[in-house]
Structures are given as structure tokens and as C-alpha cells.
């Protein structure tokens, strides 16, 4: 097990290097002036681009350029974003906790809901509950995140006046901005609890209802489908019949014997879900007015703010590789048969 984890960890730098090469390769389609923008740290420097081009060897060969770019990136200089009027890294540091909080709250309920639905559908195969779950899955599958978000926004927020848009009630946001409430992590719910203010925590949760609900409907369908079919396979296997023949209660057979083994493909899907979730977070931030990474980087892409988009691409590449690493390790822990070749 330990060798498996160590070997997998050693792979990580290679993957990251490949991603950085890929992104840098795509940057070569830009002119040197445009590329220079990704090195600039302030507005003053932007006035003297030719100097920047010379300083970072932007008129030299590919690998010389790649070397000086990588050095800057590793030192935390991702350039200056004209969209947010500050260095890219500063913006990312400010907005990453917001998006991370959203993603964490979206991920676990979706996973739990998908697993629950998949189990129910498989146990009650071809019964009414199975049919309902399957129709729900097709419907959820056909609903793009942004469409469902718009519907929920109109009905829940516009018509029923429940939940909320943004991150928390305005008065709390003002208190955070003024410093009456201290910012520790940048995540509203966590900071609310750290400040000892349960009402802030609740307000944060209330504003997370619509984003989480949107994502749950859209993304749990895939988990449900995968779990249902793998559970049906397992339920037909010999050891499950043996367990039943031993006289074990149905519940124990289903949950302890069948689901434990059927869940393995779900881990794979959960890994792929991470890429899908980044997209979901971006759409949700734009529609529900949450000041995270998506709300900054998508307008940045439209305004041709290269440094911002390249910063986001790097960040995405790194987080996806880390998430895949976590999934692989989890995989090895859940299923001891899997080992690293």
C-alpha cells in the first residue's frame, strides 16, 4: 500500500510538468507582446512591454522562454489581470476559498444523494421507485446546469423569496468588509463559526441552498446510473446468494455485502466528476452572483485577459491532478485488489 502511494506521488511532478508544457505550448500562439502580459506585475510595468520582452527572453527559443516562464510561475508571479486590476495570484488567493467552499458543499450532498438513489433503484429493480429514479436521472441529465439554476432562481428566489443569492446576507458581508467579523479562511460558513456567530453560519448555509440543489439534480444522475448497474451485477453474484441463504437480513445483504463492492466504479466517476464540477461552479457563480473564480475568469476570457485565463488554466490543471491522485489512493484503499503495475 505504502509503495503504491509513494509511486503514485512520484508521478505527480511529471504530470504537472506535462500540463505546464501544454499550457505554455498553447501560449506560443500569442504574440510576444501578449505573452509579456503574463509576466507583468503592475500597471506601470505594462507601459514598458519591450523591456519585459527582453527581460524574460520572450524573443528567444521555445525552451529558453519556457525556462524563464516556469521560474516566474514557481515564484508565484502569474502576471497582472486587467479584469481585477491586481496580480493574478492575489485575485486567485482572494477568490479560491469562495469557490472551494461552494465546491465542497456541492460535492458531498450530490455524492450521497446519487448513492442513495442508485441503491434504491437497484434493490427495487423495475418497481415504481426504480422507474421514478430512472426518469429523474434522464431529466437531470438533460438539464444543463445554467438552465436549472435560472429556473431555481426565478421560482425559489424570485417567487418564493426563500434562500438567497450572493454568499450571505448583506449585513454580514458588510461586517466582514469592515472587520467587525474577522476573516480567517475566506469561507463564510467556517469563518462564521470561528467568530462564534452561529447566525452568520446559518446565513451562509441559506445562500448555499440553490447552488447545492442545482448541482445535486444535475450531477447525481450519473452516480445513480453507475451505482445502479454495478449494484445489479453484484446482487446477481454467488456470494450475495450465499449471504441470503445464510439467513442474513435483507438490509445487511444489500448494504454490507452488495453496496460495498458495487461502490468501486462510483469512485472512478467521482474522479471524473471533479472536472465537471469546476464547470458547474463557474456557471453557478455567475448566475447566483457569488464572487468566486468563475465570476472573475469568464469575463476575463471574454475581455482577452490572457494572464487571468492562463492562471486559471494552471490552477485547474494542478487541482485536477491532485484530485485524481486522491481518487487513485482512495481507490487502492477501498479495493485491495488494485495495485500499481
Amino acid at each position: 500500500m505504502t509503495t503504491f502511494i509513494v509511486r503514485r506521488l512520484l508521478q505527480l511532478p511529471i504530470v504537472l510538468l506535462a500540463i505546464s508544457l501544454l499550457i505554455f505550448g498553447m501560449m506560443q500562439f500569442l504574440t510576444p507582446e501578449q505573452r509579456a502580459a503574463t509576466f507583468v506585475k503592475s500597471e506601470q510595468q505594462a507601459q514598458h512591454l519591450d523591456q519585459v520582452i527582453r527581460q524574460y527572453n520572450l524573443d528567444k527559443g521555445f525552451f529558453v522562454q519556457y525556462g524563464s516562464w516556469l521560474k516566474e510561475v514557481l515564484h508565484g508571479n502569474l502576471g497582472f489581470s486587467k479584469q481585477s486590476h491586481e496580480p493574478v495570484l492575489t485575485t486567485i488567493a482572494k477568490r479560491l476559498p469562495v469557490s472551494t467552499e461552494l465546491a465542497l458543499y456541492m460535492f458531498f450532498p450530490t455524492l450521497a444523494f446519487g448513492i442513495w438513489m442508485g441503491t434504491m433503484a437497484a434493490i427495487h429493480r423495475d418497481k415504481l421507485i426504480d422507474q421514478i429514479v430512472r426518469v429523474f436521472a434522464i431529466a437531470g441529465w438533460s438539464l444543463p446546469t445554467f438552465v436549472l439554476a435560472i429556473w431555481l432562481l426565478a421560482v425559489l428566489y424570485g417567487y418564493l423569496h426563500c434562500c438567497g443569492i450572493g454568499r450571505a446576507d448583506d449585513k454580514y458581508m458588510v461586517m466582514f468588509a469592515q472587520g467587525t467579523l474577522k476573516t480567517y479562511t475566506g469561507m463564510i460558513t467556517v469563518d462564521g463559526l470561528l467568530n462564534g456567530r452561529f447566525d452568520v453560519f446559518l446565513s451562509g448555509l441559506k445562500h448555499l441552498v440553490m447552488p447545492v440543489l442545482t448541482y445535486m439534480v444535475v450531477a447525481s444522475a450519473q452516480i445513480m446510473r453507475v451505482l445502479r448497474s454495478s449494484m445489479l451485477d453484484v446482487l446477481n453474484s454467488d456470494y450475495v446468494r450465499t449471504a441470503r441463504a445464510k439467513g442474513l437480513p435483507e438490509r445487511v445483504v444489500n448494504l454490507k455485502h452488495a453496496r460495498r463492492n458495487a461502490i468501486i466504479p462510483v469512485v472512478t466517476i467521482a474522479g471524473l466528476m471533479i472536472a465537471f464540477m469546476i464547470e458547474g461552479v463557474f456557471f453557478i457563480e455567475i448566475i447566483f452572483n457569488i464572487p468566486g473564480l468563475g465570476q472573475w475568469s469568464i469575463p476575463a476570457a471574454i475581455q482577452l485577459d490572457f494572464p487571468a485565463v492562463i492562471g486559471i488554466a494552471l490552477l485547474t490543471g494542478v487541482s485536477v491532478s491532485l484530485a485524481n491522485l486522491a481518487v487513485d489512493i482512495l481507490y487502492g484503499m477501498i479495493d485491495p485488489r488494485i495495485s500499481f503495475q
Binding site: V15, I19, F29, I138, P144, V147, L153, A275, I278, I302
Partner: protein, 342 residues
């Protein structure tokens, strides 16, 4: 005896078991009918929107390019005996894809006789945007599936044929492509090449080939392991001949069918990008764009009447969801028919 005659007679496709299973699935019928409706709407878009074309001044470039007078437009566009009808249906000029604006008012207007689905934000005609947008949807969907399928077949085929280190390298590349979020990739591509419908289609194709390549490679490896391939090899056929003549034709069918079901998913993604402003240029008939026109009016007016502008967002989102649903119902039924176990 001619060796051709020794082959067992195969039933035509419409009598195969797979097709029977598909036909007996009620959801498949619903999906097919829905899709048929969309095809009809797309084809008849000029006839459906003829009154808007004739009565909105900003639709004049389209009428001019079609070579029809304003007073005769409705008559001509709805008469299949007229050459203009066929020109508009089969090869409409680019200018016809611009949604006509009834006025310069930013506020939406409710459905009326002149504009049956109302006017969206900036006075764009909703009916026009949706009917012509159906054409854009099919165009984007089929083109992206076609391009990515072509890339996927070539690369997946190479991977399955060559095997070894090449195969391993190609599969690692597809790993990266599959785990990278498409939206971020489209953002990079459109920042480099400028945003637009072409860029979005290109970017989507450059992402989606990986899935097809993987699937195709898997099918090739499965087919390669079958007895008739061994038999062909034993008869002395060269590796290339075995691959092209025996493996490829048997492995490609499932991929083609399953990939064609992805049109719906691609259109949903492309619309999302247009909604964000990364897709079609402003005013181009496209569902995602119709939804983005509605963005400021979803919550109604400031006086607290939430569904005041219901028509600006309900029609376009419904259209998009029904389109996705049609393809998914169909795709689900096809998958069930191909693999009865699932």
C-alpha cells in the same frame, strides 16, 4: 460454389433484434418524435418566421439576399412551389441568421400578434431566435460530433493497431484530456483565437475526441481477440489487411451509433458557452444567446412581480431542455438495445 453464397444471410437492419428492442421501448418513440419535431422546425424556420421577416425593418438584409420583395415575402416563403422557399430552406444566406430587432428598446415585450413569443431583452424576436437557433443547434451538434469522431477514429485506431508504447502514450494523453474541464479549455482557446462559434466548435471537438479514441481502442482490442481475426491471420493476410478488412468494420459500428447520440450533449454545452458570452456573436440565432438576452429579466421588475417577463426565459430554456431530452431518451434506448444486460 461461389464463396459469397456460403455466408449466412443477414437480416436487414430493420428486422434485427437490436432494432426490435429499440422499437418496443416507449421512451425511444417519444424521443424520436420530439427529435422529428425539431427537424421540422429547423427546416421550416423561414416559413414559420416569414411574417417577422416581412414586418421587421432590421430583417431587410435577409430578404435582400434571398431576392424577395417585402410585400411578397410571406407569400413566397410559405409556398413550396416558389424558388425562394427552397432557397430559404436549403441554403439561407448568413444574414438570415441575424435575429431581427423590433426596436431599440432594451425592455422585453410580451407575446403579441406580430411577435408570437414576445420580444427578449434589446427587442430581439424570440420566435425567430428559437426557430433559426434550431438550425444552429443541429449544425453545431453534427459538426462537432463529425470532427471529433474523425480525430477519435484516427487516433484510437492508431492506438489499437500499433499497441505498445504508442498506445500507452496516446492513452495517457486522453487521460489528461478527459480530466481537464472543457469550459477552461474553451476559455484558453477563445482567449488565443478570439471567441466565436467557430472557436467554440473547434475547442469542443479538440476535447471530445479523447473519449471516442478510448472507446474505439477498446472495441478494436475486443474485436482483435475474436476467432475470425485469428482465422484471417492464419490464412496469411497481412496485419494491415487484417486490420482494415476485418477488425475496423466490425469495431466501428457501435462507436458511430453511440457518438451520434452525443449531439444533444454537445448542443447543451455549446449553448452554455454562448450564454456566458463565449460563443455566437451578439444577435446570431442561437439558444444560448437567447437565454443570455433574458439574463437581466429573470427576476421580473423591481416592483416585485417575479414572473413579469416569463416569456424571455421560459421559451428558450424549455426549447434547450426538450432538445437535450429528445437525444437522451433516444441515446438511452439505443444503449439499452445494443446491450440488453444494462
Amino acid at each position: 460454389m461461389n464463396p459469397q453464397d456460403m455466408k449466412p444471410k443477414r437480416d436487414p437492419w430493420y428486422r434485427s433484434k437490436t432494432f426490435k428492442r429499440f422499437r418496443r421501448n416507449p421512451l425511444a418513440i417519444v424521443g424520436s418524435l420530439l427529435l422529428l419535431g425539431f427537424v421540422v422546425v429547423a427546416l421550416l424556420a423561414p416559413a414559420i418566421t416569414a411574417p417577422q421577416l416581412a414586418n421587421t425593418p432590421s430583417a431587410r438584409p435577409c430578404l435582400r439576399d434571398l431576392g424577395v420583395k417585402r410585400s411578397e415575402a410571406v407569400e413566397a416563403l410559405r409556398n413550396p412551389l416558389n424558388a425562394v422557399f427552397w432557397k430559404a430552406v436549403l441554403a439561407p444566406p448568413r444574414s438570415c441568421y441575424n435575429i431581427p430587432r423590433a426596436s431599440f428598446s432594451p425592455l422585453p415585450k410580451p407575446p403579441s400578434k406580430k411577435h408570437p413569443m414576445g420580444l427578449s431583452g434589446d427587442s430581439y424576436d424570440i420566435l425567430y431566435g428559437l426557430t433559426w437557433g434550431t438550425r444552429t443547434a443541429f449544425y453545431v451538434g453534427f459538426l462537432v460530433v463529425g470532427i471529433s469522431l474523425a480525430i477519435g477514429i484516427v487516433i484510437g485506431g492508431l492506438s489499437g493497431f500499433l499497441g505498445g508504447a504508442t498506445d500507452n502514450l496516446i492513452m495517457r494523453v486522453t487521460d489528461v484530456m478527459l480530466s481537464f474541464p472543457g469550459l477552461v479549455f474553451v476559455m484558453i482557446v477563445s482567449v488565443i483565437f478570439g471567441s466565436g462559434l467557430t472557436t467554440v466548435m473547434l475547442a469542443l471537438a479538440l476535447i471530445r475526441w479523447a473519449g471516442y479514441a478510448r472507446f474505439f481502442r477498446g472495441d478494436i482490442l475486443r474485436t482483435k481477440a475474436q476467432d475470425f481475426v485469428d482465422a484471417a491471420r492464419a490464412l496469411g493476410a497481412s496485419p494491415l489487411r487484417v486490420f482494415l478488412k476485418h477488425v475496423l468494420p466490425n469495431a466501428i459500428g457501435t462507436l458511430l451509433i453511440l457518438a451520434s447520440m452525443d449531439v444533444g450533449a454537445i448542443v447543451l454545452t455549446a449553448s452554455g458557452l454562448s450564454f456566458l458570452g463565449l460563443g455566437a456573436p451578439v444577435g446570431y440565432a442561437d439558444w444560448g444567446q437567447m437565454i443570455s438576452f433574458a439574463r437581466g429579466y429573470i427576476l421580473g421588475t423591481a416592483q416585485g412581480t417575479p414572473f413579469d417577463f416569463w416569456y424571455v426565459w421560459i421559451y428558450p430554456t424549455l426549447m434547450l431542455v426538450l432538445f437535450g431530452l429528445a437525444w437522451n431518451l433516444l441515446g438511452d434506448a439505443v444503449r439499452d438495445a445494443l446491450d440488453p444486460k444494462s
